[in-house]
Amino acid sequence: MKRKLAVWLAAIVGLGALPFLGTPVYLLHIAVQILLWGTVYTAWALMGRFGMMSLGHGGFLGIGAYVPTLLWNYYGITPWIGIPLGVALAVLVAVAIGFPCFRLRVVGHYFALVTLALSEVTERGIVAARDITGGSLGLTPNTVSGTSLFALQFPDKRYFFLITLAVWLVGLWVWHRIDGSMTRLSVTASAEEDAAAAVGINVTREKLKVLMVSAALTSLGGSMLAQYLMYLNPGTLSGVMVTLQMLFAAVVGGMYTALGPTVGSALTIILTESLRILFGTRFIGAANTIYGILLIVFTIFMPVGIWGCVVRRLERRPAAPSFRRS
């Protein structure tokens, strides 16, 4: 236990020092995106690992991205207030949809399709309100020259990297907490709900807890992405496609471990960048084609994802005698 903690601390310090060791800005840029999207995917995986497949997280992401930015652009309200408000709205929406769903046992396919509606509504709503949100053309947060803590804008990527690192670590910590306190929830996943309820587990409340945390974290990720990219677009920060992106990264990276989704994030971003560098704009769609195939292949053959496999291998190392059935 102590050794694990030490390893973690060393890694964190190491990562934190990275920007100041002369790492090229481009790499920092990639790293920030990996970590931010990693946080978002981790948030999705919080639900996915318990069998709750939500296709509505694009909605939470969109809320997190647009609420603080709109408040900042129109009312000059600092993101320090705007971001929590976004989180609050995301959680509210989550409960509004989640509570009836869980109460009425809307699960599986039905749950996925109902939440899909949420992603759709958010994207279309943003587009419909184009006078305020800029619609499909996008929205840019009003820039403040230089570094501004008030506006949460940091032209210097190094500082943003540190903030991102902090957010990402928060996400991992949240995962860890949920993991520890929610082993009961593993029982409620999939078909065991009646059994779980019979044992006194308040299935609805447990599920809602996870949903709320997941929505909050997703919203936070969306806010940070908006602040970093300094450009919002309903297609990239909300809607069905970005939700499927979450699916992909979480499944291929591994949604049953804390680091899995981040691994998935690294994979998608590195893949996209490599393809862009190698082929320029010649093969648009190549990356997603690969994602699609990988998602299918992984779902069939490796549902625990890449990182999940790695973790399993590592855990099998101790050569303790195992009881084998002859």
């Binding site: 996915g48 069998g51 497949m53 296709l55 949809i97 009836p100 769903c101 009425l104 046992r105 809307v106 599986g108 396919h109 039905y110 996925a112 399709l113 109902v114 899909l116 509606a117 949420l118 992603s119 759709e120 509504v121 279309r124 709503g125 587009v127 419909a128 999939s190 078909a191 069905v240 496609m241 499927l244 699916l247 992909f248 499944v251 093969f283 648009i284 769609g285 190549a286 990356a287 997603n288 084609t289 994602y291 699609g292 195939i293 990988l294 998602l295 299918i296 779902t299 069939i300 549902p303």
Partner: protein
């Protein structure tokens, strides 16, 4: 009543026809195989591209191109089942949704890869009729008519043929159909092919009205899912009714507010209805 409102309502009805076709296909597959093909409208998109390719590029006669396009998507349906769904038939629903989600990615990007994101028009302009002050496009009327014929054919197949009976049997009790001498695998294949064919037919009809591009599936998909869930997943009659009702809601509210807002309204109504009747508004 405002003639333009009536026109909107008529157009809603006509659009409902194609959604009815799609809903039937999706419900058939869900009812029999118990999976939702998230990528269903992407299959339709492939059908549209096939039409574009054969008719606009290679100048096949329209009906031949349509027949070929339908066949292509039927085969795609078969492949989807045997390559993707088959291996995970008994896995939890989330896995199946993930896999068909992957298919969605794949089909969209593959189409982007092949055809780029440009909007392609099939280049066939059908006239617009003027009926009592309303402008009704012939393409829409045709789509509606053919959709109804398609629905009728499916109905006849399911009710009157032995394989139709077999498919309806599997939808009720999958485990023991083998005891009747029914090869379940064959039945699944047949169902998948029919589902694909219906999507292909819908594509042929829509390509007369819309330009095709790799993401057109996203314009119809979520609404289609909403329709099927409202009607009750697997409930074919429910899906039929829901298709027309939802199309009307969208068309009528689109008359009063912007088209995007009308979709938002429809979705919000949908979410509300789901909580009133979680199993579908029309389920028995």
């Amino acid at each position: 009543m405002d003639i333009f409102l009536v026109e909107a309502m008529v157009n809603g009805l006509l659009l409902g026809g194609v959604f009815a076709l799609l809903a039937l296909g999706l419900n058939l597959i869900f009812g029999v195989i118990d999976v939702v093909w998230i990528a269903y409208t992407e299959l339709m998109m492939i059908g549209m591209y096939a039409m574009f390719w054969l008719y606009a590029k290679y100048h096949w006669p329209f009906l031949a191109a349509a027949a070929a396009a339908i066949a292509v998507v039927a085969v795609l349906g078969l492949l989807t089942h045997f390559l993707i769904i088959g291996p995970i038939l008994d896995a939890p629903p989330i896995n199946q949704l993930l896999a068909t989600g992957g298919l969605l990615f794949f089909l969209q990007s593959f189409a982007t890869f092949l055809f780029s994101t440009e909007f392609r028009n099939i280049g066939l302009r059908l006239p617009t009729l003027e009926v009592g002050g309303m402008f009704i496009s012939v393409a829409r009327l045709l789509a509606f008519g053919v959709s109804l014929v398609g629905v009728g054919c499916l109905y006849a197949f399911l009710k009157r043929t032995y394989w139709g009976l077999a498919i309806r049997a599997i939808a009720q009790d999958r485990q023991i159909v083998g005891l009747m001498g029914i090869d379940a695998r064959l039945a699944y294949g047949l169902t998948s092919a029919i589902g694909g064919a219906l999507a292909g037919l819908a594509g042929c009809l829509l390509v007369l009205q819309y330009d095709v591009h790799p993401f057109i599936g996203l314009s119809f998909g979520p609404i289609l899912f909403m329709i099927c869930v409202l009607g009750g997943l697997g409930n074919m009659l429910g899906g039929l009714a829901a298709a027309f009702i939802v199309s009307e809601i969208i068309a009528v509210s689109g008359f009063y507010v912007s088209i995007d807002l009308s979709y938002v309204l429809a979705f919000l109504i949908f979410i509300g209805l789901m909580f009133w009747r979680p199993r579908g508004v029309f389920t028995r």
